[in-house]
Amino acid sequence: MEKTPKWIDVGLIPLLNLLIAFVISGIVVLLIGENPVQAIKVMVDGALGSPYGWGYTLFYATNFIFTGLAVAVAYHASQFNIGGEGQATLGGLGVALVCLAFPWPHWSIALLAAMIGGAVFGAAWAAIPAYLQAKRGSHIVITTIMFNFIGASLLNYMLVNVLRPRGSMDPATARFANSTHLPTFHDMPLIGQFFGKSVPANISFFIAVLACFLVWGLIWRTKLGYAIRAFGRSESAARYAGISPVKIVMAAMLISGGLAGLMAINNVMGTGHRLVLNSVEGAGFIGIAVALMGRNHPFGVFLAALLFGFLYQGGGELALETTIPRELITVIQALVILFTGAFDNMLRAPIESFFVARAKANKEA
């Protein structure tokens, strides 16, 4: 069996798919009577043209790194975790409870505790669907979708009936104490001088990068990672090799949910400084696009998260400066998922057979 070169599998085909997605997005922009070239210019200027833009781009990218890694880890165990949205919502609840529970003396201690809170709540929200999949065979995609909705209702209840400060009409928690506020890029040595005070990117970005390395190590350098990948490739072979399906599904999904929950240190603790309704803003779903584009590799996830951070910030600028609504980003996101995910075989099949035929011809010559 001839194999296609690796650069085609992880380089050429994803890039071509991405290109198609962007070309179609450009056509949509034309259809609504705007100029796509002008739109790209506004987006690049707004997202990458200034430290202010970068501050937002990296802030969004931080969210997407966490949710993208969450989808990727589950995917290696052949579980499609579509519940990142709900897990990140619950992670927000965990982070908020930690921040409000105790007068933290220093942000670093608060951050460590909040990370545990966010990860535990996120993992707990993934645990029930994981258990039902592993033990009772309930389809994890459906159960995680249901848990997204249940999570939204739960958060709504907690904010309206439990955590809302007395006298406040807002469905939101009280503000967190100043001692829990994380250092933003503005507060950091060396880079601080470039970034203004209002920039939301904060120390969570570096934790997200660290998470990429840790996930890489976990998947490719540990026994558990090996078991996860083996199970993901072939359940029957893994079972034969003595790998317990229940253990693997649970482990992969708990790590996945924990990563999604960790996102809250960025969007809740890092900038919001209180928990509001819908603070996740779809980042859990963008994680799906990010993981697909990044081919479930942490480095790929990192690059894809940067791209989506750019799209998100650029899309916001677009809505401000032109008549193109923000929802263009949702369309781009959909097309990226469609072409790099569902339509992957459209280009893959002909390109692979082309290279296989060429390799064969070379051998015979």
């Binding site: 949509v28 259809l31 609504i32 009577g33 499609f80 579509i82 029930i128 669907p129 039902l132 009772r136 065979g137 309930s138 389809h139 995609v141 459906i142 159960t143 979708i145 249901m146 848990f147 909705f149 249940i150 209702s153 739960l154 709504n156 209840y157 309206v160 009936n161 779903f285 799906i288 697909l292 008549t323 193109i324 609504p325 929802e327 263009l328 980003i329 949702t330 369309v331 781009i332 996101q333 959909a334 097309l335 998922i337 469609l338 995910g341 569902a342 339509f343 992957d344 075989n345 459209m346």
Partner: protein
């Protein structure tokens, strides 16, 4: 609670349950043929927008209906291409379809109408008007039976009656026709259908197209029957509740009617009574809203009868070579 209130609640349950019923039957055809469809939400939303937009521009609800079906159909075709022709992941395709609809509808609505992602308010012939069944006014004052007839059964739009008629029709098609037998077979064991010389691809595309038509009806009802025009994200998770109902009904048409009407009733109750005080516990509105999802998880977990999906569901069919 008096009798009139109960009738009102049930009437509201029928209205709210109808889009769920249509979407649920839509999903039933697709999933029975082995194509998972988590993109019902997107198809409904697309149909809601195009029906609302065309009805607003032409003043005709019927033209709106055609446009709505066309909108849902285009997404069904994308889903079919991904899942049947390119043998891609059906779940990923469903996710893409939902986002495509969510973004595209607002983008086009803003470009066409400049009203912040909504269509103009529909009135007159641009909406499907309630139909008064014969004699409904005459028997209005007859206790019980008259009230049921004139307030519960009469006074819905044509799409509601179509939705209810679709239940026995779906049952008949699936379980009493050759097409239905083949459709179910292709969802359980496509090899056997292929061996019998019937095209798996054509059957599955037909099923996906029927899904497009029915989810088109569901979305059209939302924008031109239940509401008067399209607003951004107006499906509000109904496609997922329909999916939940489909599982709840174990992929069967008559239980689908029961499940969707139950979920419609839950919505009607929580609209009318935001907080329900049972004496011992106080059920908050958020709990009522989450009930359909919680019930589905319980059913999926197999604690109350097990829900087993069609066996070949989610797997692309590859012909033997």
């Amino acid at each position: 609670m008096d009798f009139a209130t109960i009738i009102e609640l049930l009437d509201s349950a029928v209205r709210l349950g109808t889009p769920l019923l249509l979407a649920c039957l839509a999903g039933l055809f697709s999933e029975r043929a082995g194509i998972f469809d988590i993109g019902l939400e997107g198809k409904m939303l697309m149909a809601a927008f195009f029906s609302g937009a065309v009805a607003a521009m032409t003043g005709s609800a019927w033209l709106g209906l055609l446009a709505g079906i066309g909108g849902a159909m285009s997404l069904a075709l994308i889903h079919g291409l991904a899942s049947i022709t390119f043998r891609g992941n059906q779940l990923i395709s469903g996710v893409a379809v939902n986002f495509l609809a969510s973004g595209f509808t607002v983008l086009i609505a803003q470009s066409w109408f400049q009203q912040g992602g909504r269509t103009p308010q529909l009135s007159g012939n641009a909406r499907f008007e309630p139909i008064t069944l014969p004699g409904a006014d005459a028997v209005k004052d007859v206790p019980v039976i008259g009230q049921i007839y004139s307030n519960l059964l009469s006074g819905h739009t044509i799409l509601v009656y179509v939705a209810f008629a679709m239940v026995p029709l779906t049952w008949w098609v699936l379980f009493r026709t050759r097409f239905g037998l083949r459709l179910r077979a292709v969802g359980e064991n496509p090899e056997s259908v292929d061996t019998a010389g019937v095209s798996v691809i054509r059957l599955r595309y037909t099923a996906v197209a029927i899904t497009g038509v029915l989810s088109g009806l569901a979305g059209t009802y939302l924008a031109t029957g239940l509401a008067a025009g399209f607003v951004k994200e107006m499906t509000a998770g109904r496609g997922f509740i329909a999916l939940a109902a489909l599982i709840f009904a174990k992929w069967r048409p008559v239980p689908a009617l029961g499940a969707t009407m139950l979920f419609g009733l839950l919505e009607a109750i929580s609209n009318r009574y935001p907080n329900i005080d049972l004496g011992v516990v106080n059920l908050p509105i958020q709990f009522m809203q989450a009930v359909p999802y919680i019930l589905t998880v319980v059913i999926l977990a197999g604690f109350i009868g097990k829900a087993i999906p069609p066996r070949a569901g989610g797997q692309p069919y590859v012909k033997e070579r």
